[in-house]
């Protein structure tokens, strides 16, 4: 099964079709996606600003990093669940969307970031408190994390600005794409 066929299959499932056709559920999921972004961003931002030595300097790095793990996880769960639902409802259209592809690539880079820095920085926060100054590697991890997430938010907004390629979409979905947002 090619990626395009997978996208077409996901889009044809009942719940993806339902979401695409709904007048109020789709924007509600979108708003939840953005609420999740804010909750996730708060936890990521404060973690990274602490690592950079910019905010919460009177608190141990280990406390900030560890106590924000759950808010971060919950925020991410909301963003990812809603994001998956939104993407699946227009999967075939987004298959052709350049910003969507860039966003997926950036999300892969987030995974790479975790592989590179998790052990030495985020899971090693107690040792960072022992060091006289926060090591450069931890600051690099924080800066890259901020850069990645800010880019992902901006690229995500860009997805909505690319017109669906109506000539390439499945015939039965063309009408839907053409009337997207119109109540059924």
């Amino acid at each position: 099964m090619s990626a395009l066929e997978l996208a077409q299959w996901i889009q044809s499932t009942g719940w993806a079709s339902y979401l695409r056709m709904s007048a109020y559920i789709y924007p509600s999921v979108l708003a939840s996606h953005l609420t999740g972004i804010a909750l996730f961003a708060g936890a990521v931002l404060v973690t990274d600003l602490r690592l950079l030595g910019v905010a919460m300097r009177n608190q141990p790095v280990a406390d900030v990093v560890n106590q924000l793990r759950w808010p971060k996880r919950i925020g991410f769960l909301i963003v990812a669940t809603c994001g998956f639902l939104l993407a699946s409802s227009k999967a075939e259209e987004y298959y052709y969307n350049t910003f969507f592809r860039i966003k997926l690539t950036l999300l892969v880079l987030v995974a790479v970031h975790a592989l590179v820095f998790r052990g030495s920085v985020y899971n090693n926060a107690a040792a960072l408190d022992q060091a006289r100054r926060i090591p450069g590697k931890a600051k690099l991890a924080a800066a890259l994390s901020l850069l990645l997430w800010i880019s992902i938010a901006c690229v995500g907004r860009g997805i909505g600005y690319i017109e669906p390629p109506l000539d390439k979409l499945h015939a039965e979905l063309r009408d839907v794409a053409a009337t997207a947002g119109t109540p059924k």
Binding site: A31, L34, A38, A55, A153, C154
Partner: protein, 149 residues
């Protein structure tokens, strides 16, 4: 009345989306930092004293608020008639005023210890609800039908 087609923002196709990115990052900063304090009041997440935590995060909340309050009116100016008549926009503005007043009066008093700690959880819930509802109203601006201008 503002005339949208004379607005320099409408000269560029990129101006609106770029402003929107600032608007999104700004409210993420605002709600994100406010939520961390509300979570603290609810007994979740950071365990630092709520008053100190609020003091440490207040400048970041303010930076977020300034960003949304600068980018918001600029977005509005691109098509003022549409926004003015849009029900979701009207609701959003009412909620925004309520949230700001609540944030800088009741919630601030609570965090200064001037109110009963029994109010911690209700205040945190109202704060989260108000700011979240602003996001919902903001998104629905694009999904409700605006009367013809």
């Amino acid at each position: 009345m503002l005339i949208a087609f004379e607005n320099p923002l409408n000269e560029s196709a990129l101006a609106f989306p770029i402003l929107e990115c600032f608007h999104i990052l700004g409210f993420a900063l605002t709600l994100g930092t406010i939520a961390l304090v509300d979570f603290r009041l609810l007994g979740f997440g950071l365990r630092q004293n709520a008053a100190d935590l609020s003091k440490a995060l207040a400048p970041w909340t303010l930076i977020g608020l300034i960003t949304v309050l600068l980018s918001g009116p600029m977005l509005f100016s691109s098509d003022p008639d549409m926004y003015y008549l849009n029900l979701s926009f009207q609701i959003k503005m009412v909620l925004l005023v309520l949230a700001l007043v609540f944030h800088y009066t009741i919630r601030r008093k609570l965090l200064r210890g001037e109110l009963s700690p029994g109010l911690n959880k209700p205040v945190a819930c109202i704060s989260l609800l108000l700011w979240t509802s602003i996001i919902f109203a903001g998104i629905f601006i694009a999904f409700v039908v605006t009367p013809e201008t």
